[in-house]
């Protein structure tokens, strides 16, 4: 018997490392969600499209042919070749298929590997706040210390180079960013990203860049960090197929990075994961070979819904920064005087609409909620109608 931090007795010993990371703060909210019927959920984090059929079909065919064994630790050679071609065509980046690319189980694994490969105990990683929920825990699990940099609506939720530089110490090893961003929908402009890159170069820091939403941008261009001058050798580029090709359940991601780093990551990967799922890798090959049209169509569709969501939120009095990427809107709920958790909980019980409290994504997400618009137009409009009723009822007088 031992005790947990709250002093309660518990039966099993749980490592300090695992105890150190907090479970998602909104667990209670999830349980509540499951108990309410007729909910429209804007709380999802994945496409509402099924995987394009030609991609699924390629995987089915591979099963019929018996492609059911392990692949190379690095991933299937054909997939690495297609990926290399993709990075060349899209970013004019040359990555060696033998040693500079690694296929992973989603970006999630890639991120974990990256942190474990580059951090020693006490090393610091600079991360924007708010950010995707797993950045912070992945750093902690690898023994590192996350150093959060506040970002806000006024600077478009872009991380500022000066804010990064002010936090650099002798222990700083990397800057971990994810743009287009979950939860804010923010996209880093080329100029702002160049400033960040400049700081990274000057201080010899790695930039770990989660670019899973790279293809989901609207009216702006996504800049890949590795394409900036001198940055290819300082970047661990993480990407995947989940969002652009509606392949979340296939669990295929990748890393493109300098040889030494890929070698370190591959060691961990081969002992903990062996290889990414074979069927998923076959699907990913098909996605890269001929999924471009499907991806483009989906992006067009998200954009239509984005327009409706953003205008709708603004119309009901929840001011909303214009998200130029991913599929989330991140409206401010400050006019209600509620915390984001309280807002989400009461919106769910009173109007049966699920949104994710911004506080789940960090201290600076407080005052906002994440609304995913990868759902049908009809549901978006119904959700907005219900949210209007909620906001009208709870808006604090004189603050609008």
């Amino acid at each position: 018997m031992s005790t947990n931090p709250k002093g309660q007795r518990r039966k099993y010993h749980i490592s300090q490392r695992a105890s150190q990371i907090s479970p998602s703060g909104i667990r209670r909210f999830f349980d509540l969600l499951a108990s309410v019927e007729g909910v429209i959920s804007l709380g999802v984090g994945e496409p509402d499209f099924a995987t394009p059929w030609h991609i699924s079909e390629a995987a089915i065919e591979s099963l019929e042919k018996g492609y059911t064994m392990y692949t190379s630790n690095l991933g299937m050679p054909e997939l690495r070749q297609e990926l290399s071609r993709y990075l060349r065509n899209n970013y004019n980046l040359e990555y060696d298929t033998d040693g500079e690319l690694l296929i992973t189980v989603g970006v999630s694994e890639a991120l974990d590997l990256a942190m474990r490969a580059i951090l020693d105990p006490g090393d610091e990683v600079i991360i924007p706040d708010p950010c995707y929920v797993s950045y912070n825990p992945c750093v902690v699990l690898a023994g590192g210390t996350p150093i959060m940099v506040p970002t806000n609506e006024q600077n478009n939720f872009e991380i500022g180079a000066a804010d990064i530089e002010a936090r650099i110490t002798s222990r700083t090893k990397a800057i971990l960013i994810g743009y287009p961003a979950n939860p804010t929908g923010a996209v880093m402009s080329r100029d702002k990203l160049s400033e960040v890159a400049e700081v990274a170069r000057r201080h010899r820091l790695l930039v770990v860049s989660d670019e899973i939403y790279a293809k989901l941008v609207y009216g702006v261009e996504h800049t890949c960090v590795a394409t900036l001058p001198g940055m290819k050798e300082n970047t661990i580029l993480l990407g995947g197929f989940s969002k652009a090709y509606a392949m979340t359940g296939w669990r295929i991601g990748y890393v493109a990075a300098p040889k030494e780093i890929i070698a370190a990551m591959t060691k961990i990967h081969q002992y903990t994961m062996m290889c990414a799922p074979t069927m998923g890798q076959v699907a990913a090959i098909e996605a890269l070979k001929s999924g471009e049209d499907s991806a483009t169509e989906m992006v067009k569709d998200y954009n239509r819904r984005r327009m409706v969501m953003v205008k709708g939120l603004c119309d009901i009095g929840l001011s909303c920064f214009e998200p130029k990427g991913a599929f989330y809107a991140f409206p401010s709920i400050k006019c209600t005087g509620m915390t984001s958790e309280e807002f989400a909980e009461r919106l769910l019980t009173e109007q049966k609409v699920a949104v994710v409290p911004g506080s789940a994504f960090g201290e600076y997400g407080e005052g906002y909620v994440r609304c995913c618009y990868a759902t049908s137009l009809a549901d978006i409009e119904e959700a907005l109608t219900r949210m209007k009723r909620f906001v009208d009822k709870h808006q604090k007088g004189g603050l609008t």
């Binding site: 999802v44 984090g45 509402d48 995707y132 239509r304």
Partner: protein
């Protein structure tokens, strides 16, 4: 912009002008103008629902009819086709390449009604050399819509 509006309408004809305006970032008045013009130009022919009649007791018989024509002097295929497509029993009429000339989709209440249409009307039209009628047994997909969609994809209600 018209193409974008047409694509939106083709996937959902009941969408409102206001919604199209929001989606495309085009003023409502402009959207209305473009749609009105497209209707006038017969770019938009009609707004209809895709119905799964099998779910309603009102049964329908569908027949795909291959029609072979005899080319006639001074009368093109168009005028023979017109004599055929004027019949309300025909739902779709295409001129096609291959071993026959017209593809006709005819719909009736009973097999008998469709058979009567073919034997009494269609085959007597001057220029019609022969017909092959195939009755539809089951419809799987209609105008891009899968008729009996299996249980939809289930997403987790919340993911971070």
């Amino acid at each position: 912009m018209l193409k974008e509006i047409l694509k939106i309408l083709q996937s959902d004809a009941r969408i409102t002008t206001k919604q199209i305006s929001t989606i495309t970032g085009t003023p409502s008045a402009e959207v209305t103008k473009l749609i009105k013009q497209a209707e006038k130009d017969r770019i938009i022919l009609k707004y209809k629902a895709i119905v799964n009649w099998d779910k309603v007791e009102d049964e329908q018989v569908w027949a795909l009819i291959e029609v072979k024509l005899t080319p006639q002097k001074d009368v093109g295929f168009d005028s023979i086709a017109e004599r055929i497509y004027r019949f309300p029993q025909t739902r779709t009429v295409y001129l096609i390449s291959g071993s026959y000339d017209l593809f006709v989709l005819a719909v009736g209440k009973t097999n008998h009604e469709v058979a009567d249409f073919v034997s009494q009307k269609l085959s007597h039209i001057e220029g019609v050399q022969g017909t092959v009628t195939q009755f539809v047994l089951k419809r799987y997909k209609e105008d891009g819509e899968i008729i009996e969609e299996k249980e939809g994809v289930k997403r987790q209600p919340v993911t971070l």
